[in-house]
């Protein structure tokens, strides 16, 4: 046989084998075989790749570590910055909510003119329940003006300087407010105490006072405008031997959380001292 023709036959046979294998592969007859082959190869591949990656990490580690540390520091700084911004925004939200409540309150009382003021301090003496606010005579504040928040009555201005004022809270032991019990429709006097509790005094014995009754300013005496909410009666004490009933009052204002207050600047207290009968010697 001619060597050339032998070579041609070999080539044709190879092509036929390749085509046959391809046809078998395309027909899906070699899947199990290929799976078997891959099953043997893939663990070796995994092992080799993991060793390669470990080696690559070892080579690149110092550079990456520096970058990571730098990035970590940047991110920590950013987190701290964002946290401080969150705190700032939370404070602003709280302030806006407070001002919004005060604005709503002011809108419901159109007859009054208000001057908003921030609480900047408290009386250093534990016997005195006073606050110091950052508005004074320059802002139109005068002695005796009532001070309120959206919840109710806070107190009244006791002393004024050009830029600050001192407010006597209704919980002060020296404070007394003429009040009216809404349900019972009787007048009484609200007094403070050294323990910041407020109570009602001079309630007539025949008055039907119940826990839950609302306590409002009566306007008598001219020190406060009428109908400002103070609180609710929490308990009543009535003894047959006493001239008057007394009652404890739960105030609506949280006096230890005062931040911003409203001063009613168009209210002038009435001085009734000349009208009071002089004490005879």
């Amino acid at each position: 046989m001619n060597p050339n023709s032998r070579s041609s036959w070999r080539t044709i046979a190879l092509i036929l084998i390749v085509l046959g294998v391809l046809a078998l592969a395309l027909g899906g007859y070699l899947t199990s075989l290929s799976r078997l082959a891959l099953g043997a190869i893939s663990p070796a591949q995994s092992w080799l790749v993991s060793r390669y990656q470990a080696f690559r990490d070892l080579i690149n580690a110092p550079d990456d570590l520096t970058n990571l540390r730098q990035r970590n520091a940047e991110l920590e700084a950013e987190v701290a910055n964002l946290q401080s911004k969150i705190i700032e925004l939370e404070q602003q939200v709280a302030e806006v909510e407070l001002l919004s409540a005060l604005l709503d309150f002011a809108r419901t009382q159109p007859q009054n003119e208000y001057q908003a003021a921030a609480v900047i301090g408290r009386d250093p003496s534990p016997f005195m329940q006073y606050i110091i606010i950052n508005s004074g005579s320059d802002d139109g504040l005068r002695r005796g003006m009532p001070v309120v928040v959206s919840e109710g009555l806070v107190g009244r201005v006791a002393a004024v300087t050009a830029t600050a004022a001192r407010v006597q809270l209704i919980i002060d032991a020296g404070s007394s407010v003429n009040v009216r019990l809404q349900t019972a429709e009787v007048d009484a006097v609200l007094v403070g105490s050294v323990t910041s509790d407020i109570s009602l005094d001079l309630i007539p014995q025949d008055a039907d006072v119940q826990p839950g009754d609302l306590v409002l300013t009566s306007g008598l005496g001219g020190n406060y405008p009428p109908n400002i909410l103070i609180g609710q009666v929490s308990s009543v004490r009535q003894q047959a031997t006493d001239l008057f009933q007394t009652a404890s009052v739960q105030p609506v204002v949280e006096f230890n959380r005062l931040e911003i207050v409203l001063v009613i600047v168009n209210f002038s207290p009435v001085d009734i001292t000349p009208l009071l009968p002089e004490s005879t010697p």
């Binding site: 534990p126 016997f127 006073y130 006597q168 032991a173």
Partner: protein, 166 residues
């Protein structure tokens, strides 16, 4: 100069008292930071001028409080004088002086305020005032005086540098 720094320290104490310390009471008695700082300052051996610091403390508190000016002025003035005396009597037992003057000073200042309010006609029952205000306040002062004394000691070292023999 040292007295001037002492007065500034008292000013800082009054600001802290009105803004923070007054709002952290035990029952109804907060600590008296001004008194504690005053006692801690005056007790130091190097401090010779006792009265100006006491009067400055009284004056500053008198501006901030609703009590008449003479009440804190007299109270803190007497506390500074009392502390000065204790410094002389018990100069070897400074810790004893510190606690004794804090205790007596607290009772003096609170007692004077209470007496004024009683005379002025403010109805404050004695038992309630003593249990709810005076005792907690004195206790807080006694707790606070040691760390404040440590801080004031560091400050006085800067204000009164130790003499060096040449």
């Amino acid at each position: 100069m040292a007295t001037l720094i002492g007065i500034v320290v008292m000013g800082v104490a009054v600001i802290l008292q009105t803004t923070i310390v007054s709002q952290v009471p035990l029952l109804h008695g907060p600590a008296d930071l001004v008194l504690v700082v005053l006692v801690s300052w005056v007790l130091h051996r190097e401090v010779e001028q006792v009265w100006p610091i006491g009067l400055a403390a009284g004056l500053l508190v008198g501006i901030a409080t609703a009590l008449p000016l003479w009440v804190p002025l007299l109270g803190y003035g007497l506390v500074s004088a009392l502390t000065g005396q204790f410094k002389r009597w018990l100069w070897q037992v400074q810790l004893l002086s510190l606690f004794a003057t804090t205790l007596l000073g607290s009772l003096l200042v609170l007692g004077l305020s209470y007496a004024y309010l009683q005379i002025a006609g403010t109805p404050i029952p004695f038992g309630e005032a003593f249990n709810q205000v005076v005792l907690p306040s004195v206790l807080l002062n006694l707790i606070l005086v040691l760390p404040v004394y440590g801080l004031i000691s560091e400050l006085t070292k800067l204000v009164y540098p130790a003499e060096v023999e040449v």
